[in-house]
């Protein structure tokens, strides 16, 4: 046992020194640089949020919302309660619709309006269609 300890001792000292060396330069650095993955999620979350807001602001959508008795200001506030991941998923769903994505500037398809209204009523707690909408009980 004693011999073993004697044999291990130089290794332990070496390990202690190398661990100190490894941790020194990164001690602060790892806490402060923002990793690409975190930056990416945050940037894409912001883009998706702006995209959905631009969809919400469209006249055709506003008209349907008003007809359903939904306050668009409240809808926007509910949108804020979604996480980046949820918003990114929404935006993706909208863009995959036939009239979504690039053509959206000119035409809003019937399917898109139905989807949006359900999405917004989901966020507002009137419906429960999409499992990815966060519910506040």
């Amino acid at each position: 046992m004693k011999e073993m300890r004697r044999a291990i001792k130089p290794i332990s000292i070496f390990l202690i020194i190398s661990l100190v060396c490894i941790s020194m330069p990164y001690g602060y650095a790892s806490a402060a640089i923002i990793e690409t993955e975190i930056a990416k999620d945050s940037i894409e979350g912001k883009q998706a949020r702006n995209y959905i807001l631009s969809v919400l602001a469209r006249e055709e959508v506003q008209a349907v919302l008003t007809a359903q008795g939904i306050d668009s200001q409240e809808a926007k506030r509910r949108l804020d309660s979604l996480t980046d991941a949820e918003v990114i998923r929404f935006a993706k769903e909208i863009k995959q619709l036939p009239a979504g994505g690039g053509a959206f500037g000119t035409i809003v398809g019937a399917a898109l309006i139905v989807f949006l209204v359900l999405l917004i009523t989901d966020i507002m707690g009137f419906t429960d269609v999409f499992p990815f909408v966060k519910k506040h009980h």
């Binding site: 402060a32 945050s42 940037i43 980046d84």
Partner: protein, 289 residues
């Protein structure tokens, strides 16, 4: 002719990549054999026996998809998902072999099988696979589509970071490069971002990725330069200002670092608690120097 409407894109009617090596598989070892073929094609010299411990799970007698993706990254390769028949054929037509997972059985009795797609023939309706113990196996496109459908269309490109998939989509590609960062392949990740920047020259995410790779490689000057470029293109981005502040700080440029992070905090946003941390650190180090 477009076969049964399965493929709806403009590509040559038939194509086969002719320089893809073939490793016949041992029992249950389709994962390691297939990944090895893709890696060797991409320029990494491996054998199925050396790849097996990285992907094979003995208890399930197979290899999980996440393990295949992870192993490709551990060898410094871009692992990019392919999930539609159109993108599969497009990649093949541009000379990129694709790893595919099929369920040869049924949903309630699955028989999972990896193989490497190396070509196709739309005229006669088949795909060409390096599969099991057969090289250049012809499989009817209909059967292929059904068996691929039962694996939820799982497909994977394994590419050197200097080559972009022809079907690459920006966000998905950046995620693939982030996979290289996660396995600490900073040089390869840097190359991947630089390749991506050629296609998407105005991408904030790519600029941030390049900055981070230079930083991890210890090249603070290059990190500073790319982040300054990013700051000119995107003056109101807190992440750029924060990371620039950190890079300046580590070069002892305390005042500039302080100024940069102060701007980030002014902009606010969901990451402002991180900017605050950088700010406090800068103040601390500024005082002690």
């Amino acid at each position: 002719m477009r076969l049964h409407g399965l493929v709806d894109i403009e590509v040559p009617n038939q194509f086969e990549i002719d320089d893809v090596p073939f490793f016949p598989q041992e029992a249950y070892q389709c994962g390691p054999a297939t990944l090895s073929m893709a890696l060797v094609w991409s320029g990494i010299q491996v054998e199925p026996e050396t790849v097996a411990p990285e992907v094979f799970t003995p208890s399930i007698k197979g290899s999980l998809q996440s393990a295949i993706t992870g192993a490709a990254r551990r060898h410094g390769r871009i692992a990019y998902p392919i999930t539609t028949i159109d993108s599969l054929v497009k990649e093949l037509a541009s000379g990129h072999p694709v790893i595919i997972l099929q369920n040869l059985g049924l949903s309630w009795f699955p028989i999972w099988h990896y193989s490497l797609a190396i070509g196709y023939d739309l005229e006669d309706g088949f795909v060409i696979l390096h599969s099991g113990r057969t090289s250049r196996k012809h499989l009817s496109l209909i059967t292929f589509e059904r068996t691929w459908d039962r694996s939820d269309h799982w497909g994977l490109l394994v590419l050197p970071p200097s080559q972009l998939p022809v079907t690459a989509e920006e966000s998905e590609y950046i995620s693939a490069v982030i996979g290289l960062e996660k396995t600490h392949h900073w040089s390869e990740a840097l190359k991947g971002y630089q390749t991506a920047l050629n296609r998407w020259s105005n991408s904030l995410r790519i600029y941030i990725g390049i900055g981070n790779c230079y930083y991890k490689l210890g090249d603070l000057k290059a990190a500073e330069a790319i982040l300054r470029d990013a700051n000119i293109l995107f003056p109101n981005e807190g992440v750029v200002l924060n990371n620039l502040a950190q890079v300046l700080l580590e070069q002892g440029k305390y005042n500039e670092a302080h100024e940069s992070v102060r701007k980030a905090i002014q902009l606010g946003g969901p990451l402002s608690h991180l900017y605050q941390k950088t700010f406090e650190e800068i103040l601390f180090l500024k005082d002690t120097h």
